[in-house]
Symmetry: C2
Subunit: 203 residues, 2 copies
Protein backbone atom coordinates (compact mmCIF):
# COMPACT_ATOMS: atom_id res chain seq x y z
CA UNK A 1 0.00 0.00 0.00
CA UNK A 2 1.31 3.47 -0.83
CA UNK A 3 2.30 5.81 1.96
CA UNK A 4 -0.02 8.75 2.39
CA UNK A 5 0.70 11.87 4.44
CA UNK A 6 -2.28 14.15 4.98
CA UNK A 7 -1.89 17.71 6.17
CA UNK A 8 -4.50 19.68 8.04
CA UNK A 9 -3.51 23.26 8.68
CA UNK A 10 -4.54 26.64 9.98
CA UNK A 11 -4.53 29.53 7.52
CA UNK A 12 -1.08 31.15 7.54
CA UNK A 13 0.51 28.33 9.53
CA UNK A 14 2.82 27.36 6.68
CA UNK A 15 1.16 23.96 6.22
CA UNK A 16 1.27 24.10 2.43
CA UNK A 17 4.95 24.99 2.26
CA UNK A 18 5.69 22.34 4.86
CA UNK A 19 3.76 19.72 2.88
CA UNK A 20 5.59 20.63 -0.32
CA UNK A 21 9.00 20.44 1.35
CA UNK A 22 8.21 17.13 3.07
CA UNK A 23 7.08 15.70 -0.28
CA UNK A 24 10.33 16.90 -1.90
CA UNK A 25 12.48 15.43 0.87
CA UNK A 26 10.75 12.06 0.75
CA UNK A 27 10.30 11.95 -3.02
CA UNK A 28 6.50 11.73 -2.67
CA UNK A 29 3.94 13.26 -5.01
CA UNK A 30 2.37 16.48 -3.71
CA UNK A 31 -1.28 17.34 -4.29
CA UNK A 32 -2.99 20.58 -3.48
CA UNK A 33 -4.26 22.82 -6.29
CA UNK A 34 -4.29 19.84 -8.68
CA UNK A 35 -7.18 18.39 -6.70
CA UNK A 36 -9.40 21.38 -7.38
CA UNK A 37 -8.58 21.33 -11.09
CA UNK A 38 -9.38 17.63 -11.25
CA UNK A 39 -12.64 18.05 -9.35
CA UNK A 40 -13.72 20.85 -11.65
CA UNK A 41 -12.98 18.73 -14.68
CA UNK A 42 -14.78 15.68 -13.38
CA UNK A 43 -17.82 17.42 -11.94
CA UNK A 44 -18.02 19.81 -14.90
CA UNK A 45 -18.29 22.76 -12.57
CA UNK A 46 -16.36 26.00 -12.86
CA UNK A 47 -12.97 25.82 -11.15
CA UNK A 48 -13.61 29.01 -9.21
CA UNK A 49 -16.85 27.64 -7.90
CA UNK A 50 -15.21 24.39 -6.83
CA UNK A 51 -12.49 26.39 -5.10
CA UNK A 52 -15.09 28.42 -3.30
CA UNK A 53 -16.88 25.31 -2.08
CA UNK A 54 -13.86 23.32 -0.98
CA UNK A 55 -11.84 26.18 0.39
CA UNK A 56 -14.19 28.69 1.74
CA UNK A 57 -17.86 28.38 2.35
CA UNK A 58 -20.23 25.54 2.37
CA UNK A 59 -23.70 26.27 1.07
CA UNK A 60 -23.52 29.92 1.98
CA UNK A 61 -23.01 31.90 -1.19
CA UNK A 62 -24.64 31.60 -4.55
CA UNK A 63 -21.78 31.95 -6.99
CA UNK A 64 -22.12 33.91 -10.16
CA UNK A 65 -21.08 30.96 -12.30
CA UNK A 66 -21.74 27.47 -11.13
CA UNK A 67 -21.63 25.18 -14.08
CA UNK A 68 -19.46 24.96 -17.16
CA UNK A 69 -21.98 22.69 -18.79
CA UNK A 70 -25.56 21.74 -18.29
CA UNK A 71 -24.70 18.54 -16.40
CA UNK A 72 -24.91 20.33 -13.10
CA UNK A 73 -27.05 23.31 -13.81
CA UNK A 74 -28.45 25.91 -11.42
CA UNK A 75 -31.69 23.96 -11.46
CA UNK A 76 -30.04 21.32 -9.27
CA UNK A 77 -30.15 22.01 -5.58
CA UNK A 78 -26.99 23.56 -4.20
CA UNK A 79 -26.82 20.68 -1.79
CA UNK A 80 -26.72 18.15 -4.64
CA UNK A 81 -24.03 20.13 -6.43
CA UNK A 82 -21.84 20.38 -3.34
CA UNK A 83 -22.38 16.70 -2.70
CA UNK A 84 -21.27 15.91 -6.24
CA UNK A 85 -18.11 17.93 -5.66
CA UNK A 86 -17.38 15.88 -2.57
CA UNK A 87 -18.01 12.67 -4.50
CA UNK A 88 -15.60 13.74 -7.24
CA UNK A 89 -13.08 14.73 -4.57
CA UNK A 90 -13.36 11.29 -2.97
CA UNK A 91 -12.78 9.50 -6.27
CA UNK A 92 -9.83 11.70 -7.16
CA UNK A 93 -8.13 11.28 -3.78
CA UNK A 94 -8.60 7.50 -4.05
CA UNK A 95 -6.92 7.55 -7.45
CA UNK A 96 -4.03 9.67 -6.17
CA UNK A 97 -3.57 7.35 -3.19
CA UNK A 98 -3.47 4.34 -5.49
CA UNK A 99 -0.99 5.91 -7.89
CA UNK A 100 2.01 6.55 -5.59
CA UNK A 101 3.23 7.67 -2.17
CA UNK A 102 1.92 11.19 -1.70
CA UNK A 103 1.36 14.24 0.48
CA UNK A 104 -2.14 15.71 0.33
CA UNK A 105 -3.01 19.09 1.82
CA UNK A 106 -6.52 19.62 3.21
CA UNK A 107 -9.63 18.23 1.44
CA UNK A 108 -10.62 15.95 4.37
CA UNK A 109 -8.03 13.55 2.94
CA UNK A 110 -7.35 12.05 6.38
CA UNK A 111 -10.98 10.97 6.53
CA UNK A 112 -11.50 10.02 2.89
CA UNK A 113 -8.32 7.95 2.79
CA UNK A 114 -8.69 6.43 6.25
CA UNK A 115 -8.40 2.90 4.84
CA UNK A 116 -4.85 3.76 3.73
CA UNK A 117 -3.89 4.54 7.34
CA UNK A 118 -2.40 7.90 6.38
CA UNK A 119 0.05 9.73 8.61
CA UNK A 120 -2.00 12.74 9.69
CA UNK A 121 -0.06 15.93 10.33
CA UNK A 122 -1.69 19.09 11.68
CA UNK A 123 0.09 22.42 11.33
CA UNK A 124 -0.81 25.44 13.44
CA UNK A 125 0.63 28.65 14.83
CA UNK A 126 -0.21 31.64 16.97
CA UNK A 127 -2.06 34.55 15.39
CA UNK A 128 1.03 36.78 15.29
CA UNK A 129 2.99 34.25 13.24
CA UNK A 130 0.06 33.56 10.92
CA UNK A 131 -0.40 37.27 10.27
CA UNK A 132 3.32 37.77 9.61
CA UNK A 133 3.29 34.84 7.18
CA UNK A 134 0.30 36.26 5.31
CA UNK A 135 2.00 39.66 5.13
CA UNK A 136 5.24 38.11 3.86
CA UNK A 137 3.34 36.45 1.02
CA UNK A 138 2.26 39.88 -0.11
CA UNK A 139 -1.39 38.91 -0.34
CA UNK A 140 -3.86 41.09 1.55
CA UNK A 141 -1.42 43.99 1.36
CA UNK A 142 -4.33 46.44 1.48
CA UNK A 143 -5.92 44.86 4.55
CA UNK A 144 -5.51 46.43 7.98
CA UNK A 145 -4.26 44.21 10.80
CA UNK A 146 -7.79 43.90 12.05
CA UNK A 147 -9.12 42.91 8.66
CA UNK A 148 -6.36 40.35 8.19
CA UNK A 149 -7.03 38.87 11.63
CA UNK A 150 -10.70 38.62 10.76
CA UNK A 151 -9.88 36.89 7.47
CA UNK A 152 -7.62 34.34 9.19
CA UNK A 153 -10.26 33.51 11.78
CA UNK A 154 -12.93 33.29 9.13
CA UNK A 155 -10.96 30.92 6.84
CA UNK A 156 -10.10 28.69 9.82
CA UNK A 157 -13.71 28.64 10.91
CA UNK A 158 -14.91 27.80 7.41
CA UNK A 159 -12.40 24.95 7.11
CA UNK A 160 -13.49 23.56 10.47
CA UNK A 161 -17.15 23.71 9.40
CA UNK A 162 -16.40 22.04 6.09
CA UNK A 163 -14.47 19.28 7.86
CA UNK A 164 -17.20 18.75 10.42
CA UNK A 165 -19.92 18.68 7.77
CA UNK A 166 -18.30 15.96 5.72
CA UNK A 167 -16.52 13.91 8.38
CA UNK A 168 -18.67 14.43 11.48
CA UNK A 169 -15.42 15.10 13.33
CA UNK A 170 -13.82 18.04 15.01
CA UNK A 171 -10.77 19.37 13.12
CA UNK A 172 -9.38 20.81 16.34
CA UNK A 173 -9.61 17.47 18.19
CA UNK A 174 -6.02 16.34 18.61
CA UNK A 175 -7.08 12.73 18.24
CA UNK A 176 -7.86 13.59 14.59
CA UNK A 177 -4.12 13.74 13.87
CA UNK A 178 -0.93 11.82 14.64
CA UNK A 179 1.33 14.79 15.04
CA UNK A 180 0.60 18.45 15.72
CA UNK A 181 3.30 20.96 14.82
CA UNK A 182 3.32 24.48 16.18
CA UNK A 183 5.16 26.67 13.65
CA UNK A 184 5.00 29.84 15.80
CA UNK A 185 8.19 31.82 15.37
CA UNK A 186 9.75 29.13 13.18
CA UNK A 187 10.82 29.11 9.54
CA UNK A 188 9.24 26.24 7.61
CA UNK A 189 12.48 25.56 5.75
CA UNK A 190 14.24 24.98 9.10
CA UNK A 191 11.86 22.30 10.30
CA UNK A 192 10.73 20.49 7.13
CA UNK A 193 13.64 18.07 6.66
CA UNK A 194 13.66 16.93 10.31
CA UNK A 195 9.89 16.46 10.25
CA UNK A 196 10.13 14.47 7.04
CA UNK A 197 12.66 12.17 8.70
CA UNK A 198 10.38 11.66 11.69
CA UNK A 199 7.39 10.86 9.50
CA UNK A 200 9.52 8.46 7.47
CA UNK A 201 10.48 6.65 10.68
CA UNK A 202 6.89 6.49 11.88
CA UNK A 203 5.27 5.25 8.66
CA UNK B 1 21.88 28.15 28.03
CA UNK B 2 21.05 24.50 28.67
CA UNK B 3 18.50 22.76 26.48
CA UNK B 4 15.28 21.93 28.26
CA UNK B 5 12.59 19.58 27.00
CA UNK B 6 9.33 19.68 28.94
CA UNK B 7 6.73 16.97 28.62
CA UNK B 8 3.04 17.39 29.27
CA UNK B 9 1.07 14.17 29.02
CA UNK B 10 -2.25 12.46 29.44
CA UNK B 11 -2.43 9.65 31.97
CA UNK B 12 -1.56 6.38 30.24
CA UNK B 13 -0.26 8.09 27.09
CA UNK B 14 3.28 6.83 27.63
CA UNK B 15 4.66 10.33 28.20
CA UNK B 16 6.93 9.28 31.03
CA UNK B 17 8.48 6.39 29.14
CA UNK B 18 8.86 8.61 26.08
CA UNK B 19 10.56 11.30 28.16
CA UNK B 20 12.95 8.80 29.68
CA UNK B 21 13.88 7.34 26.29
CA UNK B 22 14.34 10.76 24.69
CA UNK B 23 16.62 11.76 27.59
CA UNK B 24 18.65 8.55 27.13
CA UNK B 25 18.97 9.06 23.37
CA UNK B 26 20.09 12.66 23.73
CA UNK B 27 22.20 12.13 26.85
CA UNK B 28 20.08 14.61 28.82
CA UNK B 29 19.25 14.38 32.53
CA UNK B 30 15.74 13.12 33.25
CA UNK B 31 13.62 14.46 36.09
CA UNK B 32 10.31 13.16 37.28
CA UNK B 33 10.00 11.50 40.73
CA UNK B 34 13.19 13.26 41.88
CA UNK B 35 11.31 16.54 41.80
CA UNK B 36 8.77 15.37 44.35
CA UNK B 37 11.48 14.05 46.66
CA UNK B 38 13.35 17.35 46.41
CA UNK B 39 10.21 19.40 47.04
CA UNK B 40 9.36 17.30 50.10
CA UNK B 41 12.85 17.80 51.46
CA UNK B 42 12.90 21.53 50.85
CA UNK B 43 9.38 22.30 52.03
CA UNK B 44 9.67 19.89 54.96
CA UNK B 45 6.39 18.29 54.03
CA UNK B 46 5.70 14.58 53.82
CA UNK B 47 6.54 13.14 50.40
CA UNK B 48 3.14 11.49 50.04
CA UNK B 49 1.44 14.77 50.74
CA UNK B 50 3.55 16.58 48.16
CA UNK B 51 2.78 13.84 45.65
CA UNK B 52 -0.90 14.22 46.34
CA UNK B 53 -0.76 17.97 45.79
CA UNK B 54 1.36 18.00 42.66
CA UNK B 55 -0.08 14.92 41.04
CA UNK B 56 -3.64 14.66 41.99
CA UNK B 57 -5.78 17.18 43.71
CA UNK B 58 -5.40 20.79 44.48
CA UNK B 59 -6.86 21.94 47.77
CA UNK B 60 -9.49 19.22 47.83
CA UNK B 61 -8.46 16.66 50.39
CA UNK B 62 -7.09 17.09 53.86
CA UNK B 63 -4.32 14.55 54.06
CA UNK B 64 -3.72 12.50 57.19
CA UNK B 65 -0.13 13.64 57.47
CA UNK B 66 0.84 17.02 56.15
CA UNK B 67 4.07 18.04 57.80
CA UNK B 68 7.21 16.21 58.77
CA UNK B 69 8.17 19.09 61.03
CA UNK B 70 6.48 22.03 62.60
CA UNK B 71 7.68 24.44 59.91
CA UNK B 72 4.53 23.92 57.93
CA UNK B 73 2.06 22.68 60.50
CA UNK B 74 -1.69 22.07 60.11
CA UNK B 75 -2.20 25.50 61.66
CA UNK B 76 -1.07 27.06 58.36
CA UNK B 77 -3.75 27.47 55.76
CA UNK B 78 -3.82 24.76 53.16
CA UNK B 79 -3.49 27.46 50.55
CA UNK B 80 -0.23 28.69 52.06
CA UNK B 81 1.11 25.16 52.24
CA UNK B 82 0.26 24.41 48.62
CA UNK B 83 1.75 27.71 47.60
CA UNK B 84 4.97 26.84 49.44
CA UNK B 85 5.10 23.56 47.54
CA UNK B 86 4.82 25.44 44.25
CA UNK B 87 7.56 27.84 45.36
CA UNK B 88 9.87 24.96 46.23
CA UNK B 89 9.03 23.33 42.89
CA UNK B 90 9.90 26.54 41.05
CA UNK B 91 13.29 26.81 42.79
CA UNK B 92 14.11 23.16 42.17
CA UNK B 93 13.20 23.28 38.47
CA UNK B 94 15.33 26.42 38.09
CA UNK B 95 18.29 24.60 39.67
CA UNK B 96 17.81 21.58 37.42
CA UNK B 97 17.61 23.78 34.34
CA UNK B 98 20.82 25.52 35.33
CA UNK B 99 22.68 22.29 36.00
CA UNK B 100 22.50 20.58 32.57
CA UNK B 101 20.42 19.79 29.49
CA UNK B 102 17.37 17.94 30.77
CA UNK B 103 13.95 16.42 30.16
CA UNK B 104 11.31 17.30 32.75
CA UNK B 105 7.96 15.53 32.94
CA UNK B 106 4.93 17.48 34.15
CA UNK B 107 5.16 19.99 37.03
CA UNK B 108 4.19 23.03 34.91
CA UNK B 109 7.85 23.04 33.86
CA UNK B 110 7.01 24.60 30.48
CA UNK B 111 5.60 27.61 32.32
CA UNK B 112 8.10 27.82 35.18
CA UNK B 113 11.09 27.53 32.82
CA UNK B 114 9.65 29.72 30.07
CA UNK B 115 12.74 31.95 30.13
CA UNK B 116 14.82 28.96 29.03
CA UNK B 117 12.68 28.62 25.89
CA UNK B 118 12.07 24.91 26.49
CA UNK B 119 10.96 22.58 23.74
CA UNK B 120 7.44 21.68 24.86
CA UNK B 121 6.21 18.23 23.95
CA UNK B 122 2.66 17.06 24.64
CA UNK B 123 1.88 13.35 24.60
CA UNK B 124 -1.66 12.02 24.25
CA UNK B 125 -3.63 9.02 23.07
CA UNK B 126 -7.13 7.67 22.66
CA UNK B 127 -8.86 6.13 25.66
CA UNK B 128 -8.47 2.57 24.39
CA UNK B 129 -4.68 2.90 24.15
CA UNK B 130 -4.43 4.61 27.53
CA UNK B 131 -6.45 1.86 29.18
CA UNK B 132 -4.37 -0.86 27.53
CA UNK B 133 -1.18 0.86 28.69
CA UNK B 134 -2.47 1.09 32.28
CA UNK B 135 -3.45 -2.59 32.17
CA UNK B 136 -0.04 -3.59 30.80
CA UNK B 137 1.65 -1.85 33.72
CA UNK B 138 -0.23 -4.16 36.06
CA UNK B 139 -1.48 -1.31 38.22
CA UNK B 140 -5.22 -1.10 38.80
CA UNK B 141 -5.51 -4.84 38.13
CA UNK B 142 -8.57 -5.01 40.37
CA UNK B 143 -10.36 -2.12 38.64
CA UNK B 144 -13.15 -2.78 36.17
CA UNK B 145 -12.90 -1.14 32.74
CA UNK B 146 -15.39 1.44 33.87
CA UNK B 147 -13.43 2.22 37.03
CA UNK B 148 -10.18 2.49 35.10
CA UNK B 149 -11.75 4.82 32.54
CA UNK B 150 -13.04 6.96 35.41
CA UNK B 151 -9.59 7.07 36.97
CA UNK B 152 -7.93 8.11 33.71
CA UNK B 153 -10.44 10.89 33.15
CA UNK B 154 -10.12 12.05 36.74
CA UNK B 155 -6.29 12.18 36.72
CA UNK B 156 -6.32 14.10 33.42
CA UNK B 157 -8.89 16.51 34.79
CA UNK B 158 -6.91 17.07 37.97
CA UNK B 159 -3.72 17.73 36.00
CA UNK B 160 -5.53 20.22 33.80
CA UNK B 161 -6.93 22.00 36.87
CA UNK B 162 -3.53 22.10 38.53
CA UNK B 163 -1.95 23.50 35.37
CA UNK B 164 -4.67 26.12 34.98
CA UNK B 165 -4.45 27.16 38.62
CA UNK B 166 -0.72 27.86 38.56
CA UNK B 167 -0.21 29.02 34.98
CA UNK B 168 -3.54 30.59 34.04
CA UNK B 169 -3.34 28.58 30.82
CA UNK B 170 -5.23 25.74 29.27
CA UNK B 171 -3.22 22.50 29.15
CA UNK B 172 -5.30 21.30 26.21
CA UNK B 173 -4.57 24.46 24.16
CA UNK B 174 -2.24 23.34 21.38
CA UNK B 175 -0.46 26.67 21.47
CA UNK B 176 0.85 25.61 24.90
CA UNK B 177 3.18 23.14 23.20
CA UNK B 178 5.55 22.94 20.24
CA UNK B 179 4.75 19.39 19.24
CA UNK B 180 1.81 17.13 20.05
CA UNK B 181 2.32 13.40 19.65
CA UNK B 182 -0.57 10.97 19.42
CA UNK B 183 0.67 7.61 20.74
CA UNK B 184 -2.58 5.75 19.95
CA UNK B 185 -1.77 2.24 18.80
CA UNK B 186 1.97 2.90 18.86
CA UNK B 187 4.78 1.44 20.98
CA UNK B 188 6.79 4.13 22.72
CA UNK B 189 10.06 2.32 22.01
CA UNK B 190 9.31 2.53 18.27
CA UNK B 191 8.87 6.29 18.19
CA UNK B 192 11.27 7.61 20.86
CA UNK B 193 14.51 7.67 18.88
CA UNK B 194 12.97 9.41 15.84
CA UNK B 195 11.28 11.97 18.07
CA UNK B 196 14.54 12.62 19.89
CA UNK B 197 16.22 13.31 16.55
CA UNK B 198 13.48 15.74 15.55
CA UNK B 199 13.69 17.60 18.85
CA UNK B 200 17.46 17.75 18.53
CA UNK B 201 17.07 19.32 15.10
CA UNK B 202 14.52 21.85 16.35
CA UNK B 203 16.34 23.01 19.49
Amino acid sequence: MNKIITIGREFGSGGRELGKRIAETLGFAYYDEEIIEAIAKRSELAEDYVRQVVENRIMTYYPITIANTLTAAPGDSLYAINRSIFTAQTEILEEMAQKSDCVIVGRCADYILEAYKPFRLFVYADLETKMARCRAKGEDAEASDRELEKKIRSVDKARAQYYRFYTGRDLSDRLSYDLGVNTSGREIKDIAAALAELIKALT
